[in-house]
């Protein structure tokens, strides 16, 4: 017998002994599962995106419990000592109750990335200064017209040949503890604490470190952050209802420094002169520390005829006052006042003083005044107010971010930059519904009405209204039908030239659904489901001639030139069957077809005339198939399970352009010649295919002992025309990591032994 088995047996024997030593009035026991697993080597991080697949011996599950008069505990452990381990349970002793949950979530986002930079400290990506000097000299010596892709590709070839490996992954470790103090009190009191620690890499990031070259550099963004959440909940229940109050204090601490990326084409800080110059390295800010306090209170009153009145109030305050980073890392840039822009002294204030308050209040009423009739009404308000300490920005290095920019406030941007505006939002909604039962049929009608208010956005006000009809029919145990039709509308009022942005624009939103469930025979169930959501963005303005972003006086709208998102649709169809021919066999299968589609339009003008009219119609068609079978070879003892899932997503970007537009002007390279019609579609548009097939046999060998063996096959494929190249620099000058999170094919086999005691 191998050592690992002996150890496992030893563990199991120890547990059995512990059980035998428990007090007579106590029930205790548990379970432990030991597994041995074999699998192939997979290069893609997709295989282990949110899990660990350990080869060799592991403990996928352990449980220990004891229920006695004075002490009561229950502990569950999953994937013990693995990166995806989890432990949860409860303990009651001394009149107190504790529940806890420790959950570790790995996130593998790409293996084997190739970086031209070296990460000399977390988030600091560097290149040797000698290399940067030689690249800078080479670029400065080349005329602008000669700085082609071929030029950069040749220049950087040695650098691309000696890259550093980067595995982009992170892990999240969350601990939750709740202490119930009210076990023997006439009211509930619970204290809770949550700690959330994330480390590793957040994912791919990076940006533009500009000098003579206008590039984008991709690196892995550092992740080192901690969140503390402390909460208190108290509630009291009485015969005719209950009341509650909660308070949470949440603190977010970002322990990672900013992202710093060396400029490969600039060895030293320099001001920009004649197109040359820039920072030797630049800084990208990360998330600042922030805090939030939230308090809620609510009540529920119960009356006769299932009448309920409930209300709640929630107040929260989010603050952020972290020290700013300087405007730039470039020591050669001066502000208008002659102060070095890389110095903190150049800042008009050292921190933001950010503060956002939210208020929510809600009142609900429901009743069943007569048998079969339900009525309900609700009024809800959500108000977000920006109380931050704003100041007027008169200069920065926002764009282009290698020079000092003078900023002039305008009526639309009173603080200098539009994104620095005060963004308040308030929404209110009233909903009323009535439901009536007519024997096996239930009918519901609902109406709703609401308002939207915003500051500093194009759509400053809006109204929402809607109605819904639902019918439910249940004929005994063999037929159930559910149908829903919902029509919602939103208006938008404000100021816009090209049309309100999609999230604030007027729309009509139709949702339709039908579900049919049939049980034609004992053990046979069929279901069919259809759902559609269709959002039409109405009232999109036609294009007009503009000058400097302002409509030219007297310019007439150009017909049939709406702009922006015009429609977003989603359809899903599902057929499902489950069949149990005997008590020992359960079979099931389903197929779901989905299609989501969006329609974006844009038109350009040449003077007062239409030039290009473009349509970007993106869609994804998805087919998902699932099947499973459970076979009780010997009831409650030996079970064979098979499972299969396959999902295929076909993405498409259907692009259409006006043939008479400027893109068809002869002489421009890469254009579709006049007469060929339309622009080229992109058919590989995040296409994915995932297949999983598994089989498992569980054999109960003797009392408490179960031997299991299983096999799982997985195949994943991904295609995207825009990112199919393995070149680190598929266009100039955009340098990527190209980590592997793509296609893989792999199989896993395991055997495990469980002992329940």
């Amino acid at each position: 017998m191998k050592m690992s088995a002996l150890v496992a047996m030893g563990l199991l024997m120890a547990a059995a002994t512990a059980a035998a030593q428990s007090a007579p009035a106590t029930t205790s026991g548990g379970q432990i599962t030991v597994r041995t697993l074999g699998t192939g080597t997979v290069g893609s991080s997709k295989f282990t995106e949110y899990r660990e697949v350990p080869t060799g011996v592991s403990i996928p599950f352990v449980n220990l419990f004891s229920k006695g008069k004075d002490v009561d505990f229950n502990l569950y452990g999953y994937n013990v000592q693995q990166t995806d381990q989890r432990y949860l349970g409860s303990l009651k002793a001394l009149g107190l109750g504790i529940t806890f949950d420790y959950n570790q979530i790995p996130h593998d986002m790409g293996n084997g990335g190739r970086s031209i930079f070296a990460e000399t400290s977390p988030g600091v990506w560097t290149l040797p200064s000698t290399l940067r000097q030689s690249l800078q000299t080479a670029v400065a010596s080349q005329a602008s017209a000669g700085r082609t892709y071929n030029f950069y590709s040749t220049l950087l070839a040695p650098t691309f040949a000696s890259t550093n490996n980067v595995d982009v992954s992170g892990v999240r470790k969350t601990s939750n503890v709740a202490l119930n103090l009210g076990t023997h009190l006439p009211f509930d009191v619970t204290l809770s604490y949550r700690n959330d620690f994330k480390e590793g890499y957040r994912g791919l990031g990076g940006g533009n470190v500009r000098g003579a070259v206008n590039p984008s550099y991709e690196v892995a963004v550092p992740l080192d952050e901690m969140t503390h959440d402390i909460g208190l909940r108290t509630a009291r229940s009485f015969k005719s209802g209950n009341v509650y109050a909660t308070f949470n204090r949440n603190l977010y601490v970002n322990q990672a420094g900013p992202l710093m990326i060396d400029n490969p084409f600039q060895a030293f800080d320099a001001a920009v002169v004649s197109g040359l110059g820039g920072p030797a390295a630049d800084r990208f800010s990360n998330a600042p520390d922030n805090e939030a306090s939230t308090g809620t209170a609510g009540f529920l009153l119960k009356f006769k005829r299932q009448t309920r009145v409930s209300g709640s109030l929630a107040l929260s305050s989010r603050t952020q006052d972290a020290q700013f980073y300087p405007y730039t890392a470039n020591s050669a840039v001066l502000t208008t006042a002659g102060v070095p822009a890389f110095s903190l002294a150049a800042l008009p204030q050292q921190s933001y003083g950010g503060k956002v308050n939210t208020t929510m209040y809600n009142l609900s009423f429901s009743s069943r005044p007569i048998e079969g009739l339900d009525i309900r009404a609700q009024y809800r308000v959500y108000d977000l107010t920006d109380k931050s300490d704003k100041w007027v920005i008169t200069g920065d290095m926002s764009v282009p971010h290698r020079n000092w920019n003078t900023v002039t406030p305008t009526a639309d941007s009173p603080f200098g930059r539009a994104t620095a505006n005060v963004y308040d939002t308030k929404s209110s909604r009233f909903t009323a519904s009535a439901t009536y039962d007519i024997r096996a049929l239930t009918l519901e009608g609902q109406v709703r009405s609401g308002t939207l208010e915003r500051t500093s956005r194009e759509a400053t006000t809006g109204k929402e209204s809607g109605m819904a009809l639902t019918a439910l029919f249940k004929a005994s145990t063999w037929l159930g039908v559910r149908g829903t039709y919902d029509l919602g509308k939103r208006t938008a009022e404000g100021h816009t030239v090209y049309g309100f942005q999609a999230d604030e624009a007027a729309f009509e939103n139709t949702r339709t659904g039908i579900d049919i469930e049939l049980t034609p025979a004992s053990g046979l169930e069929l279901s069919l489901a259809y759902f559609r959501r269709d959002v039409q963005y109405v009232d999109r303005p036609d294009r007009v001639q503009t000058s400097g972003g302002v409509p030219v006086a007297g310019a007439a709208p150009i017909p049939n030139t709406p702009s922006g998102l015009l429609e977003a649709k989603y359809d899903s169809y599902t057929g499902e069957v489950s069949y149990s021919p005997t008590a020992r066999i359960a079979l099931g299968a389903y197929y779901t077809y989905e299609k989501d589609a969006t329609d974006n339009r844009w038109s350009t003008t040449s003077g007062a005339n239409l030039n290009n009219r473009l349509q970007y119609a993106a869609s994804n068609e998805t087919g998902t198939f699932g099947a499973n079978g459970v076979f009780q070879l010997v009831p409650d003892k030996h079970t064979f399970t098979v499972n299969a899932v396959r999902q295929k997503v076909d993405g498409l970007l259907d692009i259409t352009a006006r043939e008479a537009g400027s893109f068809y002007t002869p002489g421009r390279t890469g254009l579709i010649p006049a007469g060929q019609g339309g622009a080229a579609d992109i058919t590989d548009w995040d296409d994915t295919e995932m297949t999983t097939v598994s089989a498992r046999l569980d054999v109960a060998m003797m009392k408490g002992w179960t031997l299991s063996t299983g096999y799982q096959f997985e195949k994943y494929d991904f295609k995207d025309a825009m990112n199919s190249s393995s070149l680190l620099m598929p266009a100039h000058v955009y340098i990527f990591l190209k980590p592997n999170d793509g296609a893989y094919e792999n199989a896993v086999a395991f055997a495990q032994l469980s002992f329940k005691f």
Binding site: G182, G207, P288, D396, A679
Partner: protein, 324 residues
Amino acid sequence: MTFPLVRGSGVLPVRPMSWLVGGMLVAAVAFAPAVASGQVAKSQTSAWSAADCQDCHDKAVSPAYAKSAHAKTDQSCASCHKNVAEHLKAQQDGKEGPVPTLKNMKANDLSQTCLSCHEKANQATFVGSKHARRNVSCTSCHSIHSPKSLTGQLKTKTDAETCFSCHKAERAKSLRTSHHPVREGKMGCVSCHNPHEGTRPKMIKAESVSELCYQCHTEKRGPFLFEHAPVREDCVACHDVHGSNHPRMVTQKQPTLCWSCHLSGSGHFGSGDNYSTEKGVPAAPAGAPKGYPTVNSRFIGRACTKCHLNIHGSNSPSGAFFVR
């Protein structure tokens, strides 16, 4: 009849707000036997116990039920099943009598049975909720006698399996390549939703979608010096939280996602620089070397966020356009 202060069953959430509630509830489920046993000791009488029913209904008094708080209630089976004494007598006399099953009850009546104890905390607003109005009763999801889940006494091992039995579109979306770790068992539907919720939109466990997301993605909370307004209002303006085939669970692949709003104005949207992308994959010129770029920079890599990396908001004094 005296009912103990059973605080109901609940799942084991990870979010702080619901953790407070859920933790209390889970604690009650785990600890109720001690509470109940204390009360039984107080009353010294128990008019009904599971043993009275077990002789005929042994499967209903399963090990899982016996360990649960329901088995320890003062009146045991009679707490929920009415007329059990009359049913027993009729059976013993060989006569036809009342059948105390809950299976034939209307959804609302069945739920009222459970709510007589559990109408508080997570379940406080179930009456009038969308699930209740759709005739989804407590036993549509929960099993009192044969639960399969670790917490919450669900009919399935995980909450997602229960929810997917009706929410089939979300089942398909959860299988997308870019997804929350639900199918890996690291999260569940109840990490974000309270299926009993009757007042909050979409039954989420926060007062707004953004506040819900901030519970895990706290780095996005800000407030930031420079705000991306749609982000502040609603995360689902850009993200499909149930799953997407596009990276970072966005609803549309970039740059078309950004073009939903940003197809006008200055900068590289108005200069014509952006428009060349409509050509898709243009052909390389004759004689071009292998690897000649045939993809436009606006599409490749992370598209717009190649440069506008702090798209959720920037606290850099030079971050007005989210490039810093």
